[in-house]
């Protein structure tokens, strides 16, 4: 037959390969996908994130079989799963632990990208899809948290949806549109359930697919930040590369085994994780008439929640001053049309910071703290990718950034005090300053020479 595809395989596999790119897909993404051989501990977290995603979907399916998205039954139906459904407690604890562990794994995965410069050219799209996954994951976690219909579910949702009300002009209407009611209610629960179970997971899966396709197009970065495709053998295979399958599949199986030890230890022995994975207040059924004295989001949102709370009316002075300084700097740095336009825009922003309510700017800072990550590939101007070949003081800077993020996270779990508020304001300045000033500091200092080949010590 004319036009029939030529394939090497025979038999059943050949039959399939004539009609579907099975062998070629396996080759392209697994057995002939060359990954750098010097991956270290940090490189487990990508495959682990996939593993947790699968766990969440599978356990989620079983939970949906028994859960009732109805304000009158939701709380009791969760307890029904915990007590009456055979193995229900196991599914529920895996799902609740999985939610937190997803963020643990994703935060570590992002840390890896930050320190080894995995977002740099040509991996900008890998990074952008990744930040998209992070944002979607936050939405997924927030929506899912309403479903147990406890006090923290209810009041947490109330607080977060009310943030949208801070947007000028359309805010209040927008908040009502999101809730489907004037307060968080049965209508809200139903739509959050629909979004949590169908809409967001579909987006998440699509983004994960795009993330991996983009990654396999450009190839993985590595701890040395070297392009392994620059040095190839006579067959055109990267000298420092190794087929993903079987080398990294067996490697990731080991990683998964280690991960499961931690994961199952939590599920079986400390599913509440001291009130940080499952908040104790959330075992009180939602009561719209009783506001809890202290509403704290789950730990993975707390760094951003701290930044939200840090933006007080006084703090907008600091932000306005920063915008003013930036305007002056941009005036001297840029040329032509932008010499006027950028400073004018920045000055307008500085003025609105003092004229629009601080609550709105709090929301902007919280959202901006995540959105800022999208621009990271263009903020970093360092001549090397990996932290290994950066000036030592860069390492200190990264250390401060990560410790600061953890402190912000701690502050977000605590009830606000004057001292804590000042600390989170300083923390917010450090977080934002790290990124906004990156175009300046990332090219400064003495960079170390980058080797031609990756650093690899045989096992």
């Amino acid at each position: 037959m004319a036009g029939e595809k030529q394939v090497e395989t025979t038999g059943a596999l050949g039959w399939i390969d004539h009609r579907f790119p099975l062998t070629s897909t396996i080759k392209a993404h697994l057995s002939e996908y060359y990954a750098p051989k010097n991956f270290n501990f940090w490189y487990f977290f990508g495959s682990l994130a996939m593993l947790v995603l699968v766990l969440q979907i599978v356990t989620g399916i079983f939970l949906v079989m028994h859960y009732k998205p109805d304000a009158a039954y939701a709380f009791d139906s969760v307890e029904y799963i915990m007590r009456e459904v055979p193995g229900g407690w196991f599914m529920r604890y895996m799902h609740s632990t999985g939610a937190s562990m997803f963020f643990v794994v994703v935060y570590l995965h992002m840390t890896r990208a930050l320190i080894y410069g995995s977002y740099r050219k040509p991996r900008e799209l890998v990074w952008i899809f990744g930040v998209g996954i992070f944002l979607t994951l936050m939405a997924e976690a927030f929506l899912g948290y309403l479903l147990p219909w406890g006090q923290m579910s209810f009041w947490g949702a109330q607080v977060i949806v009310n943030l949208f009300a801070a947007i000028p002009f359309i805010g209040p209407e927008l908040a009502i549109w999101i809730r489907g009611d004037y307060v968080v209610s049965d209508a809200t629960l139903n739509r959050f359930f629909a979004l949590h179970v169908i809409a967001i997971p579909l987006v998440l899966l699509g983004l994960v697919g795009a993330h991996i396709v983009a990654l396999h197009e450009v190839g993985s970065n590595n701890p040395d930040g070297i392009d392994i495709k620059a040095k190839k053998d006579i067959y055109g295979r990267p000298l420092d590369g190794i087929p993903f399958h079987p080398y990294y599949t067996v490697h990731d199986i080991m990683g998964a085994a280690g991960f499961f030890i931690v994961f199952m230890a939590i599920v079986f022995f400390a599913p509440e994780m001291g009130g940080y994975f499952l908040e104790f207040n959330n075992f009180i059924p939602a009561d719209p008439l009783k506001t809890p004295p202290h509403i704290a989001p789950v730990w993975y949102f707390t760094p951003f929640y701290s930044m939200l709370r840090a933006v007080t009316d006084q703090f907008t002075w600091v932000m306005a001053a920063a915008a003013g300084i930036a305007a002056v700097m941009m005036f001297f740095k840029t040329k032509g049309f932008w010499k006027i336009a950028v400073p004018v825009i920045l000055l307008l922003i500085a003025v609105t910071m003092r004229t629009v309510d601080a609550k709105f700017w709090g929301v902007v800072v919280m959202g901006g703290a995540v959105v800022l990550l999208f621009f990271l590939p263009w903020l970093d101007h360092s001549p090397v990718r990996s932290i290994r070949y950066r000036p030592s003081w860069h390492k200190t800077l990264y250390g401060i950034f990560f410790i600061n993020f953890v402190i912000l996270g701690y502050l977000g779990t605590q009830a606000p005090t004057d001292v804590f508020n000042l600390m989170s304001q300083i923390g917010t300045v450090i977080y934002l300053g790290f990124f906004f000033l990156m175009p300046i500091w990332s090219r400064m200092g003495e960079f170390k020479p980058v080797p031609d080949r990756v650093v690899y010590h045989a096992h």
Partner: protein, 283 residues
């Protein structure tokens, strides 16, 4: 003059009460003995719970037959715990509606299915400690509508339902606090004694030259120490039962968990050696 002192001390007392309310019950919790693995204790707790609590409070997520998991048989449940025609397979519901509860007590008595869990503190003591403390810190106070007050939960809506199990007690509260005296800050010690009938006397003495911190101590004196000791033990059983009830799978879960981790440990070793055998050729 006497009236004046009484009035002042009443004001002081109401202020300290208001403070302890605002702090959300700052009274330190006693550590409940861990009796989660003691079936006899859990069964005693179940008996006390069903006989005393399950009239105003429900535990609607809990099925009577679940008690077989702490070693009771269907026969025992039927004979000792079911009084008004319930069946072993029924949930622990009550006849009182929320509307009735709100009308009669001001607030409906909460469902207790997961109460022990909900009272736990972040990275702190478990809710069982709270229940153990709460049920043992009632004191008679004639100024309250129910005639009772509580240290762990000031102005609690619930009277001391189990008072006859505990017997009469006397409470001595000593509060060291800073007050304003002639425009100057001064320290004083207020000792208030609540007698077993709920009538109290208060004595304020100024502390000259005191440079410590504010403090609060409460001491109960049981008039029938033996009865009170038995009551403490019963409340430990009840706290253990309510802790178990808040997550009935927990005992089995921890048993299975040991095997799961054992398997994963072995699996990790296999995965580790498998990985090593592939990678030993990579130079």
């Amino acid at each position: 003059m006497k009236m004046m002192t009484k009035f002042v001390s009443a004001v002081v007392l109401s202020m300290t009460c208001a403070v302890s309310m605002a702090a959300g019950g700052s009274y330190p919790w006693d550590k409940a003995p861990n009796r989660l693995n003691d079936n006899a204790a859990l069964q005693n707790g179940a008996k006390i719970f069903v006989n005393n609590c399950l009239n105003c409070h429900s535990a609607k997520s809990m099925r009577y037959s679940k008690l077989t998991e702490i070693g009771l048989t269907d026969e025992q449940i039927k004979k000792n715990l079911l009084f008004t025609g319930e069946r072993v397979g029924d949930m622990m519901t009550i006849a009182m509606t929320r509307a009735d509860g709100t009308m009669w007590f001001g607030a409906a008595a909460p469902d207790l299915s997961v109460m022990a869990r909900s009272r736990s503190r972040n990275a702190g003591p478990p809710g069982g400690d709270y229940i153990y403390t709460y049920l043992r810190t009632f004191y008679r106070d004639t100024t309250k509508p129910t005639g009772w007050n509580n240290l762990a939960f000031p102005n609690a809506g619930m009277p001391h339902v189990l008072w006859d199990m505990q017997g009469p007690r006397e409470l001595t509260s000593t509060v060291v606090q800073q007050v304003e005296k002639d425009g100057q800050p001064a320290w004083e010690k207020v000792t208030t004694v609540y007698d077993p009938e709920g009538y109290w006397t208060s004595n304020t003495e100024p502390l000259v030259g005191y440079n410590g911190t504010a403090s609060e101590t409460h001491r109960f004196k049981a008039l029938d120490p033996q009865l009170a000791r038995q009551y403490d033990s019963d409340m430990a059983d009840l706290a253990a039962f309510m802790t178990w009830m808040s997550d009935p799978s927990q005992l089995k879960r921890k048993q299975i968990g040991v095997w799961v981790l054992l398997f994963l440990g072995i699996f990790f070793v296999v995965a580790w050696r498998l990985n090593a055998s592939y990678w030993k050729h990579v130079k």
